[in-house]
């Protein structure tokens, strides 16, 4: 039986300590559970209720788990995956600003809260890398520069595209087609597909093995934040498409470019030590994409559906 909004009351209302006890699958499901897509100010009110303090997390046990309990393979797989998020969070933080330059005033209020969320998520990863992994660095950029070595070359595809679309949007922030293209990449693909898949991998590992409790808590809270962002983006895209169905072309143009770039794989995704193989990841990714497309009412042309079946998962998110 499909779950209702009431089934997710704990996810909705719990504090930081409580969210650390929620199963990640519940939070991912929460992203897609609503009676109707929430308005920006409803999401802003939810942000005020769900906002958490990244400095309330205590990574002491995580450091013990990391250095004494996890195997070298597990550590390497974990770092390969979480580095995509470390940098992804930074990218979605700085590249969201042009989107706030236009839209309704209600949307701007919500987007301001999202920028704060993304900054907090970046600090969360900064703390994890410094206090658990042991990466040196005085500044946020020092730590990012250090963890860049664990990214693959193909991270630059979706996140470079986001940077350049943000630049394009900055020059013409009111243009509805630019906004829809930007939101398709940002809210639908990076947050709604990539992020949720990667969250499931690392959080599933942490929960199953009972490791990294502060990481689990902070990243599950991050996932709950993503629920607001994704729902905001889905409403923006749904409303845009309803107003002007020609935006379907914009959505498909972005996805086609993503699919084209997705054929380039420079390194094998190192997820098996964490309990996920490439087929599972692709299945998760495809499933997440179809759910989002269903919400906004866009259907993939047959050729793109076929291309999607052979797409290599990008291990990143934001």
């Amino acid at each position: 039986m499909a779950k209702t909004v009431e089934d997710f009351q704990i996810v909705e209302d719990t504090d930081l300590e409580g969210i650390g006890k929620v199963h990640i699958d519940e939070v991912i499901e929460y992203v897609h559970t609503f009676k109707k897509l929430p308005a920006p100010l409803d999401l802003y009110a939810r942000y005020l209720k769900q906002r958490w303090n990244v400095y309330d997390l205590d990574f002491t046990q995580d450091a013990v788990d990391w250095h004494e309990k996890m195997t070298e393979d597990e550590r390497q797989a974990f770092i390969d995956i979480s580095s995509g998020f470390h940098h992804g969070e930074r990218q979605v933080e700085v590249d969201l600003v042009p989107f706030m330059m236009a839209g309704t005033e209600d949307e701007k209020i919500f987007v301001s809260s999202q920028i704060e969320d993304e900054a907090r998520h970046t600090v969360f990863f900064d703390r994890f890398y410094k206090e658990v992994v042991g990466v040196p660095g005085e500044t946020i950029m020092d730590v990012l520069d250090h963890s860049y070595q664990w990214l693959t070359e193909t991270f630059v595809g979706p996140f470079g595209l986001l940077a350049y679309l943000a630049d394009d949007l900055r020059q013409n922030p009111d243009d509805p087609h630019r906004r829809v293209k930007y939101s398709t990449l940002y809210h639908l693909w990076i947050e709604g597909v990539l992020a949720l898949v990667v969250m499931k991998v690392t959080l599933g590992f942490g929960r199953d093995r009972g490791f990294l409790p502060a990481y689990y808590t902070g990243f599950t809270a991050t996932c709950r934040d993503e629920a607001r962002h994704v729902q905001f983006g889905m409403k923006f895209l749904y409303d845009s498409l309803k107003r002007d169905p020609s935006h379907q072309k914009d959505v498909l143009q972005v996805l086609q470019t993503i699919f084209n770039m997705g054929g380039a794989v420079s390194k094998v995704a190192n997820t098996e030590p964490l309990g996920f193989d490439i087929l599972q990841l692709r299945e998760l990714m495809v499933g997440q994409l179809y759910r989002k497309l269903g919400i906004i009412g866009v259907e993939l042309p047959k050729e793109m559906s076929q291309q999607l079946q052979s797409l290599e998962p990008v291990i990143a998110g934001g």
Binding site: E153, G157, L161, Y164, V254, N260, A264
Partner: protein, 142 residues
């Protein structure tokens, strides 16, 4: 050593892009990645210019069926399919080994001209070509 963004450097950069990567570098990445680049290059018949904004120097590479056929120097932004430009400090970092993809992602290089989606449909051709250029010894201005 050729002067950076001179006729001689442009000619060497052209050859470097055409001969890139060497076996050692190729082995650091999956063959699928290089296959993707080869396929993307083969279908690009157009021009890609790179520029140093504060020197007003540009080199336009013409691609034909996967091969760079010409490299032309100019002192103003050329009429190319894509113009990617950065300041001298960015080029200096890339020449010293700073990650070219990172320089693109952090917008230290900006796409001054050209369709963003078409550019990203071949993104790794361009980022790896920047890596190829960075291997060409050059005398950079102080």
């Amino acid at each position: 050593m050729a002067e950076f963004f001179s006729e001689a450097w442009a000619a060497e950069a052209k050859d470097a892009i055409n001969n890139f990567p060497d076996d050692t570098y190729r082995e650091t990445k999956l063959f699928m990645y290089w296959d993707w680049i080869t396929a993307a290059k083969k279908t690009f018949n157009g021009s890609w210019a790179v520029g140093v904004r504060d020197l007003n120097r540009y080199v336009t590479f013409t691609f034909s069926d996967g091969v760079v056929t010409t490299a032309e120097l100019s002192d103003e932004p050329p009429d190319a399919s894509f113009v990617l430009a950065g300041d001298l400090a960015t080029w200096r970092d890339v020449m010293d080994g700073y990650d070219a993809g990172k320089a693109v992602m952090y917008r230290r290089f900006r796409l001054d001209k050209g369709d963003v989606f078409r550019f990203f449909n071949r993104i790794y051709v361009f980022t790896e070509s920047l890596v190829a250029m960075s291997k060409v010894p050059a005398d950079l201005p102080a």
